[in-house]
Symmetry: none
Subunit: 213 residues, 4 copies
DNA sequence: CGTTAAGCGAGACGGTACGTCCTGTCTTAAC
DNA sequence: GTTAAGACAGGACGTACCGTCTCGCTTAACG
């Protein structure tokens, strides 16, 4: 494709010239970030260390990530992308139980530490917060939605539930334990929460049978 | 006054000599901390700035507070100390409603910002976390306990409730909205949470009447 | 240069009208080097800037010149290559005078700035220093030699002169004024130097007549 | 101490408050600078290295010296401050000879390397150049002046000499050999320069006796 | 009232990490 | 194959804070 202006002929090109971004370097940076942060916490890791660990110049990091938390966010996203498919135990109760236990387990793992660090960064930086919510939090909180909606569709859950509120009642306690660390965070806790909440979710007229004595 | 024991002469002093701690300086430091943090967030405020704003030498700050978050914690405590007495509307539902609305209102106020910043500091520093939990979080989460216990005693709430879980189901969503800012934090939200949770709390056999249509 | 059509961004590239961009690129590089250095000084000019100014890839520069000063050296050489033939006024005094005035004039011109920059580079880099001495300095300092030797041959100058020392006595003050800029550098200065030195050069028994009163 | 003027109270302070500049640190910085630069040359030494060698924070260097060359200049000045008194051999010729040999010796020593590096810095930075000329060069070039003036006063030197030119004829060759390194720089060279120049300086009617055969 | 010791505002200190800049090498798409 | 663009590893730069220390002064209890 050509463009002629005042007798000068220009070619119109779509691609950017120059060396392409080095996928391998990106890989090494994200791995180094993940490893170092899981080990010592985001605030205890410097960009210089990540660069050294990844055998990369600092500028290569700054070229692609504006700040450290942005980098951490990408490292986290990659870590979580290997997402489990939604559970299908056959019953809504079973599905919710599995999902909540998975969240509790993830929060208790090194990945939980990274998420925790990201929450801290989000509090101090609105851009990070925005990214964190959009790319991780919202997606995660909503992952439970289909299960709840399916439960309603199947008639196992009450149709008049405010799912926004319900999902927060189920998951916010887990998040809070991750962030504040005021109480242990185990699958058993997830179970206790679900069992307490179950009566208000279900259409079953004898809810107390699922309640702990 | 001197005291001689085994040929050794001691000076006996009753009060510590030297200049007294400057109450005015302390006041100025805490005010400056509160103002600057509410304005820009704890992580964006330096000790140098606080010292300059308070017209105080840095050493005067470090003499009394070991770290910045310790200072922030004190600034926060002073702000919250004006605690309301527990509500007594006559009904457990009404008391819970009042309490949750108060928490939501506090979280939405500048004080909420300070709490949020403290959460961030807690994540990066275990000592701060310990202090934060002990001096603020636990006390706050447990403030609802007497109301719940009274409700059980009065027979308005089920006796077999796990109050630890219940209080988290009620308050964790508010905390999460403060920290993550993923959804608005209003008194109406507090109401919706309580109304959804109420059926599992109460001994009233017709819980659905309190549910939002 | 970019062109946006229906939200698509295109790059506009000039077509290559002919071939043999080779020599043109070299030309542009040397010109850009000369211009930028004369303007801001060698140490304030980066290779990237030269490449951008010359519309050339950095690699094209590094393909031909190992380092920046090597490039500067070439730029300088090209500038000076237009060397005047040795003067022949008929008298040794006149020839020396012409030559010294020429050097003073060159030092006072933009070319002098480039030479000055090269001296700076030479101090920090032995390879450059070697090149600078070999390709420019020695040749320049020795350019006066034939004149002096001819003067001796003609019997106008003393036969027992140490020409190495003499040429330095004549020219080093000019070099120093170029480098240190401690005093002005004008043809008049060259004259004063020569007139002071003349008595020890000449066989004329009445040297004082050429001395300034 | 307070001072009250028209109902306004002023604090009267005599000295600047705050910690005093650490003389020991300054000493260590200047020594480290001198040592490292004499060893490897100014351009091969980083501020970080100087700070590390001096056991000093980088900021302490930047607090007192705006740039590296400014620091080098101070280090040099301190090195040279231990200046020898002007020589008094009894004869002007002897004094000049001693002085020129001293300069040659200094230029050949590690101090000479530092001066050389400073010349390079001066070429690239006008502020440094200004400082270098004012604090070192001018003072040094003029140090020979009293000797020349005394020579005239005693009648040993011609009264119509342009001392500015004369001192450059004597010393510029030494400077140039320091900077360009095109020829060796020894006391013998200083002698040869002086002996060549002597005839035009002296009132002695038989100058050739001091000339090398 | 003078001594003594702690607190004060100010600011220099040793140190760590930051984010930018430049060098010289390399890789890629367009010609 | 050659060019312009530009990403790469490496490394120095000068800045910003941290938490500590030192200075000259002020304040207050003790003798």
């Amino acid at each position: 494709m050509t463009l002629t202006v005042s007798n000068r002929v220009y070619r119109v090109v779509m691609t950017k010239p120059g060396r392409k971004r080095d996928q391998d370097a990106e890989e090494r940076i994200l791995n180094a970030t993940r490893d170092l942060i899981a080990e010592r916490g985001s605030s205890q890791v410097t960009i210089d260390e990540i660069a050294a660990e990844a055998k990369v110049g600092k500028q290569t990091i700054y070229r692609w990530w504006p700040t450290k938390p942005a980098l951490v966010l990408d490292a986290l996203e990659r870590e979580i992308k290997s997402s489990n498919p939604p559970p299908t135990t056959g019953s809504t109760y079973g599905d919710l139980r599995t999902q909540m236990r998975r969240v509790a387990a993830m929060f208790a793992s090194p990945t939980g530490s990274i998420i925790r660090e990201l929450v801290a960064e989000s509090i101090g930086n609105d851009d990070i917060a925005e990214q964190f919510r959009k790319r991780f939090f919202a997606e995660r909180l909503k992952r439970g939605m289909p299960t709840l909606e399916a439960g309603i569709a199947r008639g196992e859950l009450r149709a008049d539930l405010d799912l926004e509120i319900v999902s927060e009642m189920l998951y916010a306690p887990l998040w809070l334990r991750l962030i504040i660390k005021h109480r242990p965070l185990t699958p058993a806790v997830a179970d206790r929460i679900l069992d307490h909440a179950w009566p208000i979710l279900t259409t079953d007229p004898t809810p107390t049978t699922t309640r702990p004595s």
